[in-house]
Each structure stands twice: as structure tokens, then as C-alpha cells.
């Protein structure tokens, strides 16, 4: 049961002290020591808590942090953590309910300070005959610093906090504020008000693809819009990738590179071909430089799964593998940072930014540049869709893994193309095209991951043997490889069903109706 809390916003120029004095005179409320502290609003980079209607608020009090888990709109308190450090990962939150609910929301993402304000809190409480607190009132005044270092004030707020089982006092105080002083709840959550004050808003980053293209748009214009969007994602994730804040920064950074490359590959005769070749090379170089860290991130993210795949008696024997992976990751991360600080990368960004900012030519040289975007989208999606179907149909139980890998890449291209141009088509039907494609991709992705993991683990065990690793660790790794091979076989068997679903008559009809028109 969440802790009931009411919030009221005070009029712009009013002083909380006036209300405090009046309350103390008229009621038996007791005043506690005022507090001054920093309040930090925590969420993941991509606002996962906000999306689920939650918020984590960390108050820095006397060298410790009191972090409250609140509902976004009602500001009810769902849980409290007092700790020396601000929680970063879900594992830093209290085990039990808070972790159980927030783990699937946050997954591997780190909590970041999305906004910070300075708070002066005047605290009142009402006690009963046993000196037991039965209701709390906090009068809060805030200042926030904008990006230029200018301090701005926010409207003060009052929070009335119920103590479970003592509703009468809560209702009486709430009525006093609401009816006697005609105070109203604020329109926005405090974090939203704080962000707005400095010109920001929640969800100002999302890794999801949401562009709205217009049917009448020229192909070169649409391609530039999408490429600009991908470049923005890449730049936004660069800092987190360099700092290794969490593994999703690099993931999103890599997805932006891949999407850029896929679109460049599909932009022949829309953008200058020499330019496509050059930037395809440069982004391929960048993508390759990020590969090792991502592979190691995947192993480390899967590590708990590896452990639990083993019999309980040998789970701990796998520990040296984790240490080995972490050490390897450290080296790979440092190499990646070198690349991200290199002149080549800086030049790539500078030139690419300038190119994307250029206005489009009225009379372009490339013969498809001025074509209507939908015509291009239809043709490109249909072509890749046909390739996926053709290649998928030739895959049997003995087909080499490399061909499934190639099919996976075609599926990825198809997925990106549908996402790039999805806004040109009816939303509901686009969602349907993606459903079975996503399932097929998941299957092919799992197969590829497991295949690579088996090979890499075998390679790692050779490397670890050189550093005199204990035999029991090698044995545990052997058992793990067997387990992964079993899982790989199951996934491979499941491919037939996943592909049949994708290649179903209903799905073919859907793809035909949407994309075949201009073929």
C-alpha cells in the first residue's frame, strides 16, 4: 500500500513561512529543524521509470542519500532507501519488492541525475498523546540552476504525508490547506516543472525510431532527415559510451551506426554514390571498432544466465571467467575510447554533420533524388522482403550457420527499412509486418549469439589455460559450452516455425498490399 501524500502548490510570490506560522498558532503541529539539501531526480538515459509512471528522488542529507521511489502523478511513496551513495544500477536498490518491480523496467540501464535542484524544507508534524507522529507536513522552496549558471526559483510546494492508520489527522490538515487557503495540487510533477524551468522536458531522448515523413517528400530530403536523426542518436550516446556508464549507450551508438550504413546502402542514386562509398567505409570502420566491447558486454550481461544454466555445485567455479571477461573488457574499452578520441573520428563527425546540414539541390544530379519517398520506400522494402523470403526458403536442417547469419543481416535491413519509412504507411499494418519479422529476428539473433558464444568460450578457455586457470573452471566452462550447444540446437529447430509464420499467406498478402505497388 503506497504512502498517501498530497501536494499543493503555493501561489508564486507567497512565503511558506506565513503558512507555517499560522499552522503552528492554530494547531498542535510541532516544528522540526529546517533542512537544506540537494534533490536529484533519477531516471535512466531513456526515461524508463518515467515511461512506467515512476520516479526516484534522491535527497542528499548530511552525507547520505534518502532515495524515495514515488508514483509520478500522485507522488505517493512506494519505498525508501537510505544509503551512502546514490543508487546506480537496479542491484543497488533494496532487494524484494522495489527490485522485483524495477528490474524488468530498468534492466541493465544506469540511473542518471536527470535534474537537480536545491531545496529548503520546513518540517512540521503532528503527534498524538504517545508522542507518535500521525501526520507530516513539508513546506519546500526550490531553486534550480540553468545551463548558463543562472539560478531560477520554482513555485514552493507543500507535501502532506499520511502515516498509515492515522487518516483523520491527514484529512484534517489536507482540508485546512485545500478549503481554508484554497490551495490546489500542482499541474506537473516537481521533476517535470524543474526540467521545464531550464527548457528541458522528460523523454528528451528515446532510442525508439519515431520520424514522421510526408508522402510528398523527396527521397533525398527524407534520407537526410533519417540520417540526421541517427547522427543525433550517435552523438547523444557518445559520452555514455566513452564513460561506459552502462552497456546500452554503446548498444544505441552501434545501432545508429548500423542504421546509417543500411540507409546509405539503400541510397544509391539518391545521394552521390562516391559519398555513399566513402561514408560507408568510415562508418564500417567505426562499427568494427565498437565490436569487441559489445561482444564482451553481451557475455557479461548474460553471465548470470550462464551461472544458472550450470548445476548448483559448479556455479561458483565459473567466477574466474567473469573476472577474465571483465579484464578483457577493460582493455577493449580503453581501445574504443582511443578511437572515439581519434582525429579520424572527429573528422568523420565534422564532415558528416556539415553534409547533413546542407540544403538539398533543387536540380540534383542523382536521378532518384527527387523521386517521391514512398516510391523509393515501396521498392526498397519490397526488394529486401523478397530476398529474405527467397533465402529463408532455401534453409534446411543442414544449411551451414553462415547462411543463417546472412539471412539475419537481410532481416535486420528489412526491419530498419520498415522503421525508417513506417510513417508513410498505416500504423496498424506496419505494426503487423514487424511482429512476425521481430520473432524471426529474435530466433536468428539467438542462434547467432549462441553459435558465436560457443566458439568464443572455446577460444577463451585456451587463453585462460595459458594463465594457469584452475581445472575446475575449465570443466565448468566445458559444461557451459555443452549447455549452450543444446540451446543452440533448440533455437535452430524453432527456426522453421518462425520462418513459416513470417512467410505465411496472410503475411505475404500484407506485404504485397503495402509495398508491391510500384514494383
Amino acid at each position: 500500500m503506497p504512502l498517501a501524500r498530497l501536494q499543493f502548490e503555493l501561489p508564486k510570490n507567497s512565503k511558506p513561512a506565513d503558512y507555517v506560522e499560522e499552522l503552528i498558532t492554530e494547531t498542535k503541529l510541532v516544528r522540526d529543524r529546517d533542512l537544506e539539501f540537494s534533490r536529484i531526480f533519477l531516471d535512466t538515459f531513456d526515461w524508463r521509470l518515467f515511461d512506467q509512471g515512476f520516479i526516484l528522488v534522491a535527497d542528499s542529507l548530511e552525507g547520505r542519500f534518502r532515495t524515495t521511489w514515488q508514483t509520478l502523478y500522485a507522488a505517493e511513496i512506494l519505498g525508501v532507501l537510505t544509503s551512502e551513495q546514490v543508487p546506480i544500477f537496479v542491484g543497488d536498490l533494496p532487494g524484494g519488492r522495489m527490485q522485483r518491480i524495477l528490474r524488468p523496467v530498468m534492466e541493465m540501464r544506469a540511473l542518471l541525475p536527470q535534474s537537480r535542484l536545491e531545496c529548503v524544507q520546513q518540517r512540521l508534524r503532528l503527534s498524538n498523546r504517545n508522542e507518535k507522529t500521525v501526520v507530516r507536513l513539508n513546506f519546500e522552496s526550490y531553486t534550480i540552476e540553468d545551463t548558463h549558471g543562472v539560478r531560477k526559483k520554482l513555485c514552493p510546494r507543500i507535501y502532506v504525508e499520511a502515516v498509515r492508520g492515522y487518516d483523520k489527522a491527514f484529512v484534517a490538515i489536507a482540508d485546512w490547506l485545500q478549503y481554508r487557503h484554497n490551495l490546489h495540487p500542482p499541474v506537473d510533477n516537481l521533476m517535470v516543472s524543474a526540467l521545464n524551468k531550464v527548457g528541458r522536458h522528460p523523454r528528451d531522448y528515446s532510442s525508439k525510431f519515431d520520424f514522421k515523413l510526408e508522402l510528398s517528400m523527396r527521397a533525398d530530403s527524407a534520407v537526410r532527415i533519417i540520417l540526421r536523426g541517427q547522427f543525433s542518436v550517435l552523438e547523444l550516446n557518445e559520452h555514455g559510451t566513452k564513460q561506459d556508464i552502462d552497456s546500452e549507450f554503446l548498444h544505441d551508438f552501434r545501432v545508429a551506426i548500423r542504421r546509417t550504413r543500411v540507409l546509405l546502402g539503400q541510397s544509391k542514386d539518391i545521394l552521390p554514390n562516391a559519398l555513399i562509398d566513402h561514408y560507408n567505409r568510415e562508418f564500417a570502420w567505426l562499427g568494427k571498432a565498437t565490436g569487441s566491447v559489445r561482444d564482451l558486454d553481451v557475455y557479461l550481461l548474460n553471465f548470470e544466465g550462464y551461472r544458472t544454466a550450470l548445476p548448483v555445485s559448479i556455479r561458483n567455479d565459473l567466477q574466474p571467467l567473469q573476472e577474465f571477461l571483465e579484464a578483457k573488457k577493460k582493455v577493449a574499452q580503453s581501445e574504443l575510447v582511443t578511437v572515439l578520441k581519434s582525429r579520424r573520428y572527429e573528422r568523420l563527425k565534422k564532415e558528416w554533420r556539415q553534409l547533413l546540414a546542407r540544403t538539398i539541390d533543387e536540380k540534383p544530379f542523382e536521378f532518384l533524388a527527387a523521386t517521391r519517398v514512398q516510391q523509393i520506400a515501396d521498392a526498397r522494402i519490397w526488394r529486401v522482403y523478397t530476398i529474405v523470403r527467397q533465402k529463408g526458403r532455401t534453409i534446411g536442417p543442414d544449411t551451414p550457420a553462415a547462411r543463417l547469419h546472412r539471412l539475419r543481416i537481410h532481416c535486420k535491413k528489412l526491419r530498419y527499412l520498415i522503421e525508417f519509412f513506417g510513417s508513410l504507411y498505416p500504423e496498424k499494418q506496419i505494426r503487423r509486418t514487424l511482429k512476425s519479422l521481430k520473432e524471426l529476428q529474435d530466433n536468428l539473433g539467438s542462434f547467432q549469439d549462441l553459435e558465436v558464444q560457443v566458439k568464443t568460450l572455446q577460444q577463451y578457455s585456451s587463453e585462460m589455460m595459458a594463465s594457469r586457470i584452475e581445472a575446475r573452471t575449465l570443466l565448468a566452462m566445458g559444461v557451459l559450452v555443452q549447455e549452450l550447444e543444446k540451446q543452440c540446437a533448440v533455437v535452430r529447430t524453432d527456426f522453421v516455425q518462425r520462418f513459416d509464420d513470417f512467410d505465411s499467406a496472410e503475411n505475404r498478402k500484407l506485404f504485397t498490399s503495402l509495398f508491391e505497388n510500384e514494383r
Partner: protein, 249 residues
């Protein structure tokens, strides 16, 4: 949700002090915690400054005529709630005896709170009765304070035997030494002797300390008003040890 019963056949061994301080520590870790003061003396309720009275009494509670949700009170501490005691709890055995499947009653009463609380501490009255059986059926662990006297050996053995012969008990017995006065030779000898015979006794031991007695004056857990005291430190060690034991329960 993990249900931990502070239980002993003997009275005056430090059950309530342990329940209050361990629950405070669990809540300080950020876990949503409930203390159910089952003892009609209402000491836990007193320590949390909450009136020992329950609307509908024990009869309403066991018969589930009163919604438990309506009876829970928030303490002055984050994450920590209390289901207060009531003088009618002296008759809980009678009410249980009149109910269907009495041994499952406590478990059933707590069922709606499985999602809400991470820990429930049952501060049990000192006896061995139908209520104890119902507690055994609901608890994941029986945390039992043992004072270092010769009689304690007998009590611990009695409890062990009782649990072994009790098919409805799913709880693990986790005894610890309580109210130890290391200046007393007898205490030192009994501790040494019992540790040999009962190797599963928890390592942490709670001293006989005036800080614990002062809980009555402060009406708060030791950890709140004397956070750096020897007693507070001992409860912290006990909680750390218990958390490890509770992982697999």
C-alpha cells in the same frame, strides 16, 4: 515475502528487543517490513509508541471479520509498519481452536500482504500452543533467542524435538545467544558448551546491555537512539548473518 518468527518457549529472553531492532534494520535496508505484535503484553507496540488495541480484537482477526489492512499502523520509521497487539490476543489459542484448519490461519491472514511486504516479523508470546503451531506453519524461519543458562539447553532441545515431530512446520530454526553477560563465568561456559552441541547456533550474540533496557524510556529501537552502541552493533551483526541464512529460504 519472508516471514520471520521471533519465538521462544521461555519468556524474558529478548524476543521483542530482537523483533523491534531486526525489523528496524530490515526497513533501513529499504525492505518493506511489518512487525506483528502477537504478544498480549504489547511490548513491540509500546516501543513503537502505538496503542496496543485492535478493532474487533483477536476474534475479528482470526475470523477475518476485520480487514487486516485497516489495522496496520505506520511507525515513525521509513518502510516499517506494525500490526499492534491487543489484550484479547491472550485468547488467540481459543479463537484458533474454534476456526477451520487452525494451523494454516496465520499463513492465510498474511497471504494478502505477500506482494506488499518483503519481511514480516512475528513477535510471538512465550508459550508452546496452537498459536505456536500456526506460527510454525506460516514462518520461513524461527529466530529463537537463547539466554546462556543451563535451562536454555533444555528449552532449545524441547523446541528442536517439537519442530522435528511437527509435519506442518516448514520453518528453519535459527537460534542465537541473547542477554549475554561476558563477565559471568557461567554465561561463558554455557555459550562454549552449547556452541559445541548446537553448531547451527548463529555466531552473532546480543549482550546484556543497558542500552537495550533503555528502549522502554526512548520508546524506539536501540539502533535509532544509540546507533553506535555495543548492542546496536550486535543487532547489526545478527541481521547481517540472518540475511545470508535467509537467501535460500
Amino acid at each position: 515475502m519472508k516471514t520471520l518468527a521471533l519465538y521462544s518457549i521461555k519468556g524474558g529472553v529478548g524476543k521483542t528487543a530482537a523483533a523491534v531492532n531486526l525489523a528496524y534494520l530490515a526497513a533501513s535496508d529499504g525492505a518493506k517490513t511489518l512487525v506483528w505484535d502477537m504478544d498480549p503484553q504489547g511490548s513491540s507496540s509500546f516501543y513503537f509508541r502505538i496503542k496496543a488495541r485492535v478493532r474487533g480484537g483477536g476474534k475479528g482477526l482470526i475470523g477475518r471479520k476485520t480487514e487486516l489492512d485497516q489495522l496496520i499502523k505506520g511507525t515513525d520509521f521509513d518502510n516499517l509498519d506494525l500490526l499492534p497487539s491487543d489484550f484479547s490476543f491472550r485468547n488467540l489459542d481459543l479463537y484458533l481452536d474454534n476456526s477451520k484448519k487452525p494451523i494454516r490461519q496465520i499463513s492465510k491472514i498474511l497471504k494478502p500482504f505477500v506482494e506488499e511486504y518483503d519481511y514480516v516479523f512475528l513477535d510471538c508470546p512465550p508459550n508452546i500452543s496452537l498459536l505456536s503451531e500456526s506460527v510454525f506453519g506460516a514462518a520461513n524461519a524461527l529466530i529463537s533467542p537463547i539466554i546462556p543458562t543451563t535451562l536454555s539447553i533444555r528449552t532449545l532441545m524441547q523446541l528442536e524435538k517439537y519442530i522435528e515431530g511437527h509435519t506442518g512446520c516448514r520453518a528453519v530454526l535459527l537460534p542465537f545467544f541473547s542477554m549475554i553477560d561476558v563477565r559471568r563465568k557461567l554465561h561463558r561456559e554455557v555459550v562454549e558448551h552449547l556452541r559445541e552441541d548446537f553448531p547451527y547456533l548463529l555466531k552473532a550474540q546480543i549482550p546484556y546491555a543497558s542500552d537495550i533496557e533503555q528502549m522502554g524510556l526512548h520508546r524506539a529501537p536501540v539502533l535509532h537512539f544509540a546507533a553506535h552502541s555495543r548492542a546496536a552493533n550486535a543487532f547489526q551483526q545478527l541481521w547481517n548473518e540472518l540475511k545470508v541464512c535467509l537467501v535460500d529460504l
